[in-house]
């Protein structure tokens, strides 16, 4: 586990908002010189506190206006290999997230589609044909917001 001090937390909070901030600009915000701030960012990245970057797009503007989350249960009849299911579901290009979960469903997946008709196509041709697929519940995303998390 990585131990953070207040300055590390301030840096992470700022980079969560804007990862393109320069070490100089970020340093001024948190009270560090440019080289000192750069070294901190390097350390946080090397230690793995920063896993990477995420590009946020206006998805409707690039033609992917519909996001659907699916809860999936694996059918119990017959012996189903979870590996086969996982391999097949991750190969679907419109599926961005696949999570193995514990609860009323076995998997949670996130599908990005161009519109509802496109979603229906993906659901019928790609999802409902997956090996071992059982019950499926769909929820269409209306709004989404990300919060900074416990870095206070």
């Amino acid at each position: 586990m990585i131990a953070l001090d207040d300055t590390d937390r301030a840096i992470l909070r700022a980079l969560e908002q804007d990862a393109t901030l320069s070490a100089g600009a970020l340093g001024r915000r948190v009270g560090l010189s440019q080289p000192a701030c750069w070294r901190r960012i390097q350390r946080l990245t090397e230690q793995g506190a920063i896993a990477g970057r995420r590009l946020e797009l206006d998805l409707a503007a690039v033609g992917f206006g519909v996001t659907v989350f699916l809860g999936i249960k694996i059918g119990t009849r017959g012996r189903v290999s979870l590996e086969d299911f996982e391999r097949a579901v991750t190969a679907i290009p419109e599926v961005q997230v696949v999570q193995h979960v514990l609860g009323v469903f076995d998997y949670r997946i996130k599908v990005r589609a161009r519109d509802i008709a496109d979603f229906e196509r993906i659901l019928r041709r790609r999802i409902l044909t997956l090996p071992g697929i059982g019950q499926v519940e769909a929820n269409v995303l209306l709004s989404e917001e990300r919060l900074p998390g416990p870095l206070g």
């Binding site: 586990m1 990585i2 953070l4 980079l15 969560e16 908002q17 804007d18 990862a19 393109t20 793995g48 506190a49 920063i50 896993a51 990477g52 970057r53 995420r54 590009l55 946020e56 797009l57 206006d58 998805l59 503007a61 690039v62 033609g63 992917f64 989350f69 809860g71 579901v89 991750t90 290009p93 419109e94 599926v95 961005q96 997230v97 696949v98 999570q99 193995h100 979960v101 514990l102 609860g103 009323v104 469903f105 998997y107 949670r108 990005r112 519940e137 769909a138 929820n139 269409v140 995303l141 209306l142 709004s143 989404e144 917001e145 990300r146 919060l147 998390g149 416990p150 870095l151 206070g152």
Partner: protein, 152 residues
């Protein structure tokens, strides 16, 4: 803004690697670095690119538990969504708030240090949120796929 095939090529590569240098992006999109730079600026100004954020690896920081909490709200109350969401924003362990059309009304992505900590957050800060009619938890076992890439 209308985006064309060159924009889509730039965005596809940026989604795959948001830290990619403009020169490398330009080469992949088959344009000059200066043109690529101008196009990215235009995409930003038009709001197609909303920003780039650092992704925090909470597990590395000692947050071992991640739970997807699905809620049905009491919709007889006209301000149920607004009040629930406003209160959820104040819980530091909440990373994401999403609203849906479907059986689920709202979903919160919540992290905790361990099971003991999770029980405490769940009892003291989640179940006390206003207008909950029903809730269901999906505990993350493993993340099989997590990408923002799109088949543009």
């Amino acid at each position: 803004m209308q985006i064309d095939d060159t924009d889509r090529r730039i965005l596809r590569n940026l989604l795959a690697d948001p830290a990619m240098a403009v020169a490398a992006l330009a080469e992949r999109a088959g344009i000059t670095t200066a043109t690529c730079w101008r196009r990215i600026e235009k995409l930003r100004e038009a709001g197609v690119i909303r920003g780039t954020q650092a992704v925090i690896d909470w597990r590395r920081l000692g947050w071992e538990i991640e739970v997807s909490l699905r809620f049905t709200l009491d919709k007889t109350h006209p301000r149920a969504f607004d009040e629930f969401i406003a209160a959820a924003r104040l819980v530091p362990e909440v990373l994401e708030i999403q609203t849906f059309l479907g059986q689920t009304d709202v979903r919160l992505n919540v992290i905790a240090r361990d099971m003991e900590h999770w029980k405490e957050i769940y009892r003291d800060r989640i179940l006390t949120l206003p207008h909950i009619q029903d809730t269901e938890a999906l505990m993350l076992v493993s993340s099989i796929k997590d990408t923002t890439e799109l088949p543009l």
